[in-house]
Structure formats: structure tokens, C-alpha cells
Symmetry: C2
Subunit: 222 residues, 2 copies
């Protein structure tokens, strides 16, 4: 489903170059359940942004379902991002002025789903994450862990077949964490392709494949 | 140093009341090293915001160094928050347009510390957290874990004697986490008063006292 080939990502900071990802080659197959681990600043989020077509490589190739991403135009990329890929950001990125429910409905608005069905699917996904009582709260009226679960609900509501999640349990206590991970395990059993970033080894052990990065390099995959 | 007596915090959401903290009484003594644990949404961050004078109780009393906080005016409160209390927010709250170094210098600007000393102290604190190479990066040019360590550096640069930290290791791998916790342990040995929120039990075990909350109530302190 996703194939990175000798991909580099170099940020330019004034006159300095910051190589965040350095010559990484990685194949993610349909139905894989993959975890990326590595120290803080090692390039995990950058790698995920490239996989999710949220950023473009400085050099190297990226193929998504056999198509070269560099050859796709903006509207084709937006379509792939909206319908195919569910992304949970490390810093949530919820829209502050609207409620949890409207935040979760948003991807369905872009996908043109009519209002009654949108509302029903968004409510069901919030309930699935234990947040039905908080649907009308705005992000600032939610706790850190509740905001994180709203971000997960928003990523999954379009029923994407490729789920990318950056530290999805970082702000959660052990009970809420295992509820979220049970949901990811279920999606994996349904055949979805899942790539997760975590620094908690008991979470990493649930995946089928662990990929380690350090200083922008892929050091091990097992 | 801090004494909460029968404190409630009730948020008003449209026409509904959301009781986040319900009748909590808690004494924090000089030099204490206290951890607050509890499920997501149980009132931990709300309790910390009250302790840090970032929010005011709906009812009940709060005394800080013997003074009733409700009797203090805005400039007295700002002085206490700036000089006495170091606060690490769960969502970092770094200023996006300025560099990591300038973010860390900011509390010293408010405290009127001259520029050369400000820069030196901010650089030293960033180096203490392993970030000297990233001092010129803006928050969006840092990884999640690096942003979190900048937020910790900013909270500690004024050398406060009361440190409040909300999930300070939430985004950190085990190596960076233990470096941060070693720093907190050192501050505690120096006689600082520390209150931490965490959901990781190996972190909680470092403290002298563990306080458990659930649904806004203090359920246990040991
Ligand atoms: N401004 C607000 N308006 C309404 N409700 C709020 C507001 N802020 C917080 N809440 C609610 O108060 C409760 C306690 O929130 P708090 O942020 O203290 O939880 P927490 O224990 O820190 O959780 P977490 O571990 O997820 O960070 C939550 O149910 C939350 O939805
Ligand atoms: N826009 C940017 N400009 C310059 N440097 C950047 C930018 N974004 C990230 N970096 C740098 O690239 C490196 C990799 O960042 P990345 O966010 O991928 O790390 P990470 O592995 O996700 O870390 P964490 O576990 O702390 O979230 C870091 O050293 C970071 O400072
Ligand atoms: Mg990251
Ligand atoms: Mg919280």
C-alpha cells in the first residue's frame, strides 16, 4: 500500500539544513500493523507526515497504491488524504471554536456526506471512545485525554483503510489507553493497515512489526 | 505552602454545570514531592490550575504561603505566578512565532532580568535539557518531545520554589523521560516543592506522596 524508496526530508532553518529523515526505504503492505519507535527528535513524526502525504520528501520516491505521489496534483492528494487516510496528530490539531461533535463531523463534511448521516456516524464514533457526554464541549472545555480521543474519533470516522497515529495514547491513563488500543486491534483484524508511533513498549508489542529509527535513519525492523 | 479547603470548580457550559473538582481539601507543605494520578477527565489539570493561581475556585478557600488567594489583586497574583511558581502545561503553550530560546527567556523578561543574564540562564537551562542545538528552532520546527522539554525549561528558568508540572514526560521516550525526572528529583533535593501529574506509575513512584482523584473527588492520599 505504501512504499518509501531512499527518502530524505531536510528542513531548511535560515542558512542551516536539518536532515530529519535520511535515506529511509520502507514498504508497508495492505493489512500491516506497524509501530515506529525511537528517541525524541529521531524523525518519527516527519516519517509519518511523509506517509500521510502531509509533507513532501526533499529527495527519493514515495508510491501509494502503486502511484507515484510526486505525480499527483493537489486535488488528487486531497481526495486520498480525506477518503483513504486517517491521521491522528501528535498535537491533536482540533479546531478550537467548534464542539467535539463538529470536529469529528468535519472530515465527513469534506467527503460530502449528508448532515443526518454525518451526525449519526460522528456520534457513534465519539460513543465508541467513551465521550458521548462530552460531544458539545469545545476543545478548551475538554481534558488532555478527552481531546486526544476526539482527535482519534475524527481520524476514524471516515472509515479509512490506512490509519496513521502519532502517539495516540500519550495523554491517556492505562484504562483509556487500552480501550483505544483495543479499537486499533479491531481495525487491524478488519483488514485496515495501521502505522503507529509510540514510546511505550507495551503498546508497541501489540503490532506485527516494529521499526526503529534513530537520527533520521532506519536502524532495525523486526 | 499551599492549602486548598473544600474547593469546588464548576464549569458552566451553556445551561449545564460541569463539576470538575468537588470539595477537595489538600495541604501541600514546603519541600513536598507530590504526584496526582487519576483517569482521564477526573479533574487533575483543573486542580493544578487552581494550585497555580491560573484559575479561581467556584467555592471554598485557597491559601498560598498563608495568604488567602481570593484577597490578592491581579498584580500581586501576577507577581506570585511569575516569580514563585513554575508551571509546565499539559499542552505546552509555547509562543509559535519566537524561537525556543526566546520562549525560555520570556519569564525572565517579565521579571525584569537584564538581557545578557537572561540569555545566559535560558541557554543554560536548554542545555540542561539536552536542547542546545535546537535553541533557534521555533516550536513548529521542533518535535513533540523537544517542545515539551522547552516548556519544562521555561517553567524552571526563574528558579521557582513551587513547581507544578502536568504530564511533563507525556511525549518523551524512556531516556528523555528519566533525564527530566532526574532533574525534578534534584530540584526536590534542593528543597523545592514539586507537584506532578502523571499516568505512568514508574514516574509516580518517585514522589513522596501520591494523591488519587476520580470524578473530581480526592479518593486517597498515601
Ligand atoms: N472549560 C471547561 N468547560 C467545561 N468543562 C470543562 C472545562 N475544562 C475541563 N472541563 C471538564 O472537567 C473535567 C476535568 O478536566 P481535567 O482537564 O481537570 O481532567 P484531567 O484529569 O486533567 O484529564 P486528562 O488526564 O485527560 O488530562 C473533564 O470532564 C472536562 O471535560
Ligand atoms: N519545520 C522544521 N524545521 C526544522 N527542523 C525541524 C522541523 N520539524 C522537525 N524538525 C527537526 O527534525 C527532527 C525530527 O523531528 P520529528 O518531529 O520527526 O521527531 P520525533 O521522532 O517525532 O520526536 P518526538 O518523539 O519528540 O515527537 C527534530 O530534531 C526536529 O527538531
Ligand atoms: Mg513526534
Ligand atoms: Mg489533564
Amino acid at each position: 500500500i505504501a512504499h518509501l524508496e531512499e527518502v530524505w526530508k531536510i528542513y531548511r532553518l535560515g542558512t542551516i539544513d536539518v536532515p530529519a529523515v535520511r535515506g529511509v526505504s520502507l514498504k508497508v503492505n495492505e493489512g500491516d500493523y506497524l509501530v515506529i519507535v525511537g528517541p525524541s527528535g529521531s524523525g518519527k513524526s516527519t516519517l509519518m507526515h511523509l506517509l500521510g502525504c502531509l509533507d513532501t520528501p526533499t529527495s527519493g520516491n514515495y508510491w501509494l497504491r502503486g502511484e507515484r505521489v510526486a505525480d499527483l496534483n493537489d486535488s488528487e492528494l486531497a481526495e486520498i488524504r480525506n477518503r483513504r487516510i486517517g491521521f491522528v496528530f501528535q498535537q491533536f490539531n482540533l479546531l478550537a471554536p467548534i464542539s467535539a461533535l463538529r470536529n469529528v463531523e468535519l472530515p465527513l463534511v469534506y467527503a460530502g456526506v449528508p448532515r443526518p448521516e454525518r451526525k449519526e456516524r460522528a456520534e457513534a464514533m465519539l460513543a465508541r471512545l467513551g465521550l458521548e457526554k462530552w460531544a458539545q464541549h469545545k476543545p478548551a472545555e475538554l481534558s488532555g485525554g478527552q481531546q486526544q480521543r476526539v482527535a482519534i474519533a475524527r481520524a476514524l470516522v471516515t472509515n479509512p483503510d490506512f490509519v496513521l497515529a502519532d502517539e495516540p495514547t500519550g495523554n491517556l491513563d492505562s484504562v483509556a489507553s487500552s480501550e483505544v488500543m483495543d479499537l486499533f486491534d479491531e481495525l487491524s483484524r478488519d483488514g485496515k493497515t495501521i502505522v503507529l508511533i509510540t514510546h511505550e513498549m507495551d503498546i508497541a508489542r501489540r503490532a506485527h512489526l516494529i521499526v526503529r529509527v534513530r537520527d533520521g535513519l532506519l536502524v532495525d525492523a523486526s
